[in-house]
Symmetry: C2
Subunit: 460 residues, 2 copies
């Protein structure tokens, strides 16, 4: 009678990106920043943000409905639904409970799972939990669904251009085209104050940018070491970057991803991996005696390691950077938007390949894990996944607004955060068909959402 | 090479209860409430609350340290740590990350898991996740640890006497004395606003008491139906209350637990279970034609069903009510404090018995599940678990304070909630030895905790 589940992983994935965005180049000018500070210094192109009718609940209602409809999944087939988010609208009632309206309409309330919380890592925690559920004795044979939804906004100042917003939904089950290699997971967790949200009345975080970057790189080193050690224990052979076809990072801004990949390459050099070429060895040799702490702060090492890893970066990392560079930091959704970028760019040649993932959440929590691609039949074929995602169209149909409009929206949202008894403009004209949007919040803080009609086929 | 895990469940459990409490009887007088309103109307005896040096972080640091030390578990043996809580101190940084200091000191940072959030259900979600992990392919052979920690406080008014505070820690692994019967789980989740925390700057919830009670009872009905149906599918025989030796409920206040058990008995009557005796059938017959909605609001049904279920309540439920009545609502910890009460009261005769559990979190999320007791060798024997818990001593060594002191503390905590740059009185004299306590919060909202020395053996 026991259900058997093998090749558990991601069967399908969809993403919702707010249709309003601001160009980083125009933001540089508006902020009076030096030219290239955001575009080259941070490595970012564009930043999506929620308008006054959108929030993490509307975005996740939209992306869940979209995934179910596009894959023709009956809401009754979902047995678990979990949300990862760090954007708090209510401190007790989960975002998952808001999503139940979609399933209640179809008579399905038998759906386990709540929200997982720790900064940008919550989505990964939800995903691990969902995969474990499918592999556990409590699995009832139905699909799991994982949602990552966040709106990243910052107070005026240097962190503001590192915002973004999106929601990702992933359908989880056995016989997946994107399979978890769960045995090799490397995790590092620690108590630090690099980025946190202790000012409860404000949507903005407290950030120590320099500390957060060092924490990220230290966590990366430790997770990679543990991942390699577990891989080598189970497989009996060396792991290095040459065993990963793509490397996908949580991406607060692209520059950190560039540094991170170079850091992994430096790790391979220190571990004396056969995959590091002679030229690189010569160039990295002067840094081999640095202490770990020195190595995090050496600008020379940063420069040289990025240089020697440049070709590999283009090959293994660049395909993942499309959405993070175009949309900005999506917190919990960031790493999965990067994974979607790889699917979008490389689906033709992805079968049989391994994708190495690094998930980081400040505070801090981090894991490195790997996925193996094993293409399946329609509707869970890579081709169909990419067709449904329709990334090019999603990016091209966005509305670029002036920095003034962006700043004005954030000001309005500051007043609306945690507020009650207001009505939104209700203007959903810029939103894609089928999008949910906020109409009003009543005097008991209860939030009400409407849905924009779906497109009717054949031009009606 | 695959690890095999069977009989996964709770190996050990510990609880921390703040040592300061107020008698419900004296609170009635202070509030000018009618005599018996809190003690009989709510069914509560006493309420523990956090003093100014305690919070959900200090309580969980204390209970985790205590469990590890008393069971002589090396912190390196923990591979997963998850927290369930609805008491938000930071909206991004998890409580789990605060607990990492205990493990970092021993050089173990390879510990998965974050915080699970949905009102009082977060601990159950964390527990399910942890059990699933042990049964999954990502399990690495180490123990899991689940922490439920909450401080329940309400604004002045009718809900205030339904507060409470505690932290529970549970060690999870295979070959457990308290085993999950995961196949029979019944779940019901729905989008409602019965109790929520939308006022982000306040620690107090928005509560619709009447709606919340109806939601609780409806969820109970649905979970029980689903549980019975799954049990009957897998076991091929009828499930009724006679198949459960104890029934443990999430307990906001004891009166609701009394109503809930009577409601389950009424369910057995409607389902025509052979276990319902003839006398009860005759008395319940007049209510058999009520619609579901009518039945939730019939005071006559409530009265009659409690009467006919009274003996069974004494036998199957009363042993679980000790801590919930003495400590108050502990939110995520409530149901596990009730489970601990059963262990405390019945450990001598518990071997081989089944405990039915009902977990509820407003918003809403709910599950019914069952545990089977299978006594083990020391240190995971029922006798040792109960000895370590030392419930009688914990309750008797509390300090009963006057209602004025309770109200004064809550007023101070209102100012401290979400605040920065303050120093506590630092008075840990009332706390048990080995307790963690808050010393100060700096101007960047960073929180600092000290630990009171442990008792030194043999009177030194």
């Amino acid at each position: 009678m026991a259900l058997k589940s093998s090749d558990v992983g991601i069967l399908a994935v969809d993403i919702y990106v707010p249709p309003t965005c601001v160009q980083q180049e125009s933001l540089e000018t508006y902020d009076g920043a030096s030219k290239g500070k955001y575009t080259i210094g941070l490595g970012q192109d564009c930043m999506s943000f929620c308008s006054e009718v959108e929030d993490v609940i509307s975005m996740s209602l939209t992306v869940v409905s979209s995934l179910l409809e596009k894959y023709n999944v009956d809401p009754k087939q979902i047995g678990r639904l979990e949300v990862g988010s760090e954007t708090v609208i209510d401190k007790s009632k989960s975002i998952k409970s808001f999503l139940m309206r979609i399933f209640e309409e179809c008579g399905n309330t038998d759906i386990e799972g709540v929200d997982s919380t720790n900064a940008c890592y919550g989505g990964t925690a939800a995903l691990f939990n969902c995969v474990n559920w499918v592999e556990s004795s409590s699995w009832d044979g139905r699909y799991g669904l994982v949602v990552c939804t966040d709106s990243a906004v910052y107070a005026e100042g240097p962190a503001r251009p590192t915002g973004g917003a999106a929601a990702v939904a992933m359908l989880i089950g056995p016989k997946a085209p994107i399979v978890f290699e769960s045995k090799y997971r490397g995790t590092h967790m620690s108590h630090v104050y690099d980025f946190y949200k202790p000012d409860l009345a404000s949507e903005y975080p407290v950030v120590d940018g320099k500390l957060s970057q060092t924490c990220y790189l230290m966590a990366l080193d430790l997770c990679y070491k543990r991942f390699c050690s577990k891989f080598e224990k189970f497989e009996g052979k060396e792991f290095s970057l040459s065993a990963a076809d793509y490397v996908v990072f949580h991406s607060p801004y692209n520059k950190l991803v560039q540094k991170s990949f170079a850091r992994l390459y430096f790790n391979d050099f220190i571990r004396n991996c056969s995959s590091v070429n002679e030229e690189a060895k010569v160039k990295l040799e002067p840094f081999s005696s640095l202490s770990a702490d020195e190595s995090y702060h050496s600008r020379d090492l940063e420069k040289v390691s990025q240089l020697v890893a440049k070709n590999l970066y283009e090959e293994k990392v660049q395909p993942s950077t499309l959405l993070p560079k175009q949309v900005g930091n999506m917190y919990t959704a960031s790493i999965y938007a990067a994974l979607i970028s790889v699917l979008h760019n490389k689906h033709v040649s992805l079968n049989g390949q391994r994708i190495l993932m690094f998930s980081y959440g400040s505070g801090l929590t981090s894991s490195m894990f790997s996925l193996k691609v094993n293409d399946r039949q329609h509707p869970f074929s890579l081709l169909n996944i990419v067709t449904v995602l329709d990334i090019q169209h999603k990016l091209e149909s966005r509305h670029v607004v002036a920095p003034e409009k962006f700043v004005e929206t954030l000001k309005l949202m500051e007043h609306r955060y945690g507020a009650k008894d207001f009505v939104t403009g209700g203007d959903a004209s810029l939103l894609p068909q089928g999008s949910f949007y906020l109409t009003h919040v009543d005097d008991l803080y209860r939030r009400f959402y409407d849905r924009k009609p779906l497109a009717i086929a054949n031009g009606h």
